[in-house]
Amino acid sequence: MTQILSQKLHKSPRVAAFVLMSALALTACTNPDRFGAGGAGTGAAGANGGIIAGSINDPTSTAYFNQTIGDRVLFLVDQSTLTDSARGQLAQQAQWLLANPEYTAIIEGHADEQGTRDYNLALGSRRAAAVQDFLISQGVNPARLKPITYGKERPIEVCSNESCYAQNRRAVTVLAAGAGVS
């Protein structure tokens, strides 16, 4: 009678994609499942290994995307509207994604701790959607982008004042290998 799905405990295809991508690019921090697998999940990419092919000097590398272009944009309090500087940065992200079609991206929306848990999940969704919509408007194939909200669950800065909150109100474009996001 019940149509409830049984729990899937095997690893998802994204994990396999991660392993493949790691072997190619020798970078970490691009596995969308890493949070589900208990990873740090700060969206703070950049722990690259210093290998030339995947290094920050390689313009096709995730390290280049994360650090030179910049993988995140910030938001005002309780807002999901893109600022002018965010739009400028996302335009560069879009150009990079168009030039590097072998990558897909998870777009993480985050909130600061000044809000209730449920609301911040919804607010994170809004922020991720704002970035996703902008990238699509710049010509990025929607199938390459997938939003996720972390609400206030994964702050990157831990102090409890505006200097930290400003960094935590963010959307982070996390690259992954593969033609489309499942």
Partner: protein, 450 residues
Amino acid sequence: MIHLSAYVRCLAATTLTAAYMFGFAAPLTAQDQGPLKIEITQGVIEPLPVAVPDFIAETAQAAEFAKQISDVIAADLVGTGLFREVPDSAYISKVTSFESPVQYADWKAINVQGLVTGAVSVDAGGNLSVKFRVFDVFNDGQLGSGLQLGGSTNSWRRIAHKVADVVYSRITGEGAYFDSRVVFVSEAGSKQAREKRLAVMDYDGANVQYLTDASAIVLAPRFSPTGDRVLYTSYESGFPQIMMLDVGTVTRRQLPVPTESMSFAPRFSPDGRSVVYSVSTGANTDLYRMDIASGQVARLTNTPAIETAPSFSPDGSKIVFESDRSGTQQIYIMDAAGGDAKRISFGQGRYGTPVWSPRGDLIAFTKQANGRFHIGVMRTDGSEERLLTASFLDEGPSWSPNGRVIMFTRETQGATGESALYSVDISGRNLRRVPTNSGASDPAWSPLLK
């Protein structure tokens, strides 16, 4: 597979029996002082002095339980803020036998108003039996009949809570809440990478058992109306999705919401058959209701705003929720089938996480104003708003089974900030930290256990 603790399995299968009534209900003779009764609706409460002398061990095996049981009963009563315990060092009479006549004068002399006596025995089969009486000392009489409760020895704490529930109800005239559990999120690790596990414990923090491991973020568990299942949000799939966990077997399953969407904030209907929850699609978050058996889904809201944190009225006819359709988070009530919603919060600041009281008369909520967070209550028409707490971050109220106490999350600020569980009486008195052996958040109170 998640480890299933023997305790959880055992508790789920345990039923306590009120074996029989004994003795007789001594008539409460009308005297100058009325019968022992706390009117807990009154403004200021002077805690009522009670004595709970160590229960008598009537068999050798009962010795290890007798004092512990009376201690738990006393802790339950004192924990309400409505009672204070007169210590045994003050006693004039020593209770040496359950059947000995109560020396009322000796208890009056030390100003004990409520007296609870009891005896414990363990039979050859390992069954624990507790008999007890409640006395109204200043009226020289017994309050209600003596009662006997039985169960296995490893359920001794539950039996003690049940005794305390009877004492509490007889003196206050209200429903009880001590024999209940709380499901919550146990937290560990740094603020940037907090590990979260579902856990369940007795309402007083005892008997903590973990229901999930820390491999995925879990949020906001909610008990079913009979306490047999828990809904929560998990990042197990990599994305937030609502899950349902069977407490007895500790098995979990994903509810059949579309996997392309993010779902969260689930809560059971009062009949336990459906779930109301939020789904984020793009920038929009709306409320949906799913029939658990059929998987059939109905959309309840249809605005571009954020609608989340839904909670049913006890009769299942209404849903209270939060929405920012006015521009800020506010509380609304609509029919359980959806449709037009009426805003009920109008004060300064933002209102979220509304939860309907089990008595039906109040809505508990989180309020954010001037950089502070509060737990508050208001009537269902939004009137008579009262804030019960204030701190850097209080959120997520959950009602005790009798609608008298609210448990919530309080988080301290800064890099070392940690979450803890607190409870507060709906009068705003008796704020207490609920003991947990690690950080803890998102408490949800079970119904009174059967």
